[in-house]
């Protein structure tokens, strides 16, 4: 992540899975272990005691690991104490707990890069920063894809190509993991001896990737949207989808790994002595999101749906990255299955 240089090759080994699991367990003294538990697309990143509890063959989770563990859904950002002497502001403690996220897919790893741009950009969020620095990310190349995945069209998967910004990359080679170290600290931490990969191993990895790439179901043209979006912001597909199907429930943006919007509000106890300034994940799909005193910039459901679709598929200028990583969560967890790629395709017609 921040400031770390691209890591040279040669820190790659093949080790058997048991050995790897043993190493992970050894991290428990210093780190909270967080890994995927459960099957298929309904897995969940949770604290685990060992890799035995985790299922590294999981396909997807509802909440994305990066967002859930780096940018908490609900947290205190300022505390105030009120008393006879007046009101004094106090900084809530900066999180110091070290944690390892094990088995983060390529899309979700890219999503963390996006969140970095948001929270470590022009202004630095101290809570995100502390968690980010205390989080060791072990990414994992996917073995299967779901029918809603489209990372291959965005360039964020299914195999992770980024060379930095995370700590370690795993590829399941059958009985062994191919472990690629991607950060300085991973080199210090990973002390397991293994077999250096040979040309054949790399070839096998490439073949697996090619096979995987062929199994994607989704296909749409992500390029050229810019013009369409700007010229037809009132396209009927937006209106129809919004009115007939969109519930404004905000599930889509809540599960989105790159959605960063949040609300800030004060929670005061009734003795008026303790005030907590909280932040909570918020959503552009909510009616009040863009309301100001004199009006509401997105009072129409259609306008809110459009904000979501455009923000994810266009508006790259904002952070220099696409807002979507192709994980398909917004489609899967939308109660009515609204699919932003279908909307985009319809608009391109």
């Amino acid at each position: 992540m921040t400031g770390e240089n691209v890591f040279q090759k040669n820190y790659e080994v093949l080790i058997c899975k048991e050995l790897f699991a043993g190493w992970v367990e050894g991290l428990r003294d210093d780190f909270k272990l967080i890994g995927p538990v459960g099957d298929g697309v309904n897995a969940e990143f949770r604290e685990i005691a060992s890799l035995k509890e985790a299922n590294l063959d999981y396909q997807s989770t509802m909440l994305p690991p990066g967002k859930a563990y780096l940018f908490k859904p609900l947290e205190e950002i300022v505390l105030f104490n009120a008393g006879p002497g007046g009101v004094a502001a106090e900084e809530p403690p900066i999180p110091v707990q070290k944690q390892v996220l094990i088995g983060v897919h390529a899309c979700d790893t890219h999503a963390v890069f996006y969140l970095d741009k948001v929270f470590l950009g022009a202004f630095t969020d101290p809570f995100y920063k502390a968690r980010r620095e205390n989080t060791f990310i072990i990414s994992l190349n996917c073995k299967t894809v779901t029918d809603l995945c489209f990372c291959h069209l965005i360039g964020t998967g299914p195999y992770l190509k980024a060379q930095s910004g995370y700590d370690m990359l795993l590829t399941d080679m059958g009985g062994e993991f191919l472990v690629e170290l991607k950060s300085e600290r991973s080199k210090n931490l990973f002390n397991v001896k293994g077999r250096p990969p040979e040309a054949g191993d790399w070839q096998k990895k490439d073949e697996m990737e090619t096979r995987l790439l062929k199994s994607f179901k989704k296909d749409f043209k992500a390029d050229g949207l810019r013009q369409v979006f700007l010229s037809r912001p009132g396209h009927p597909v937006l209106k129809e989808t919004a009115e007939e199907r969109c519930l404004s429930c905000a599930n889509c943006v809540m599960v989105c790994p790159t959605c960063f919007c949040h609300d800030v509000y004060d929670e005061t106890d009734l003795s008026l002595t303790r005030i907590k300034r909280m932040r909570r994940w918020d959503a552009c799909q909510d009616y009040f999101f863009a309301q100001v005193h004199g009006g509401n910039f997105r009072s129409e459901r259609q306008a809110r749906l459009r904000q979501f679709v455009f923000h994810k598929l266009d508006y790259e200028g904002q952070f220099g990255l696409k807002g979507t990583v192709g994980c398909g969560r917004c489609i899967r967890w939308c109660p009515t299955g609204i699919d932003l790629t279908e909307i985009a395709e319809e608009m391109m017609k």
């Binding site: 519930l247 905000a250 599930n251 809540m254 106890d269 009734l270 009616y287 009040f288 459901r301 109660p335």
Partner: protein, 255 residues
């Protein structure tokens, strides 16, 4: 400090009950977490449930009114309460959406009565249920059945601060995701009302593996047609769908 501080006169609160289970009153006077501070920070100058002293005449810094309107005398009382109170919040689903008492809005009045009473009672004057907002201007709605702790606290704090309240207006799904529940509607096909229901409960039902039954009432701009469409796809019959939407929102659906 600008708000009521310990030396100040405590805000005078009146609590009123119309047609309901008194649960909102109990929530305020007993169940909620900040009970001690509530009892101490306010002067409950009228609260039948908790006190035999005091007068309903006011004046009140805050009037809390629970219950649906189902009797003519309640309308007169309500207008009086409004006139005597600086701030008036409707408390609980009965007062805000009609809640459970409004189920009978869908059936002819006498038909329901005859099922409950064998003889004709001369005192019976029940009307089609309606809500506080139909008769007076309300300054806010503390939603829920019973009212959620977050909004209840916000209501009370707003009065201590002399400021406008900010009640939750988003969907239950937002709270549900914040809790990290696997969605029971998407993952299991349970007919969850979360997407159209106003937040404030902390997504209790889905957290306990149950489909939300909308006890906080519909949120503003709820797209009920879209959710009904989804329920149809799940295989619910029209009757079943109608019942899900008429449990706490009968007035809305029976318009």
């Amino acid at each position: 400090m600008r708000f009521f501080s310990p030396g100040d006169r405590k805000p005078r609160v009146g609590f009123f009950k119309f047609s309901c289970c008194t649960g909102c009153g109990f929530q305020l006077a007993y169940f909620q977490k900040s009970l001690e501070d509530t009892l101490k920070s306010f002067d409950f100058t009228f609260f039948r449930l908790a006190s035999s002293s005091g007068t309903p005449e006011g004046p009140f810094d805050l009037a809390l009114v629970e219950g649906a309107v189902t009797e003519p005398y309640q309308i007169i009382e309500l207008k009086k309460i409004r006139a005597n109170s600086a701030v008036l919040y409707a408390v609980g689903s009965c007062a805000i959406t009609g809640g459970i008492p409004a189920i009978k809005a869908g059936v002819p009045e006498m038909e329901v009565q005859n099922k409950a009473y064998r003889t004709k009672l001369y005192g019976l004057t029940s009307l089609r249920p309606s809500v506080l907002g139909d008769y007076v201007e309300i300054d806010g709605s503390v939603r829920g059945c019973p009212p959620g702790e977050r909004d209840l606290q916000e209501a009370m704090v707003s009065v201590l601060f002399h400021r406008k309240p900010e009640f939750a207006g988003y969907s239950v799904c937002v709270e549900c995701k914040i809790k990290g529940n696997i969605c029971v509607l998407v993952a299991e096909g349970l007919p969850c009302m979360g997407p159209v229901t106003n937040a404030g409960c902390g997504a209790l039902c889905p957290s306990y593996h149950r489909a939300c039954y909308s006890c906080f009432g519909l949120m503003g701009q709820a797209n009920t047609a879209a959710l009904k469409g989804k329920f149809r796809k799940l295989g619910l019959t029209e009757d079943e769908i109608e019942r899900r939407f008429s449990l706490f929102d009968a007035l809305e659906t029976k318009k």
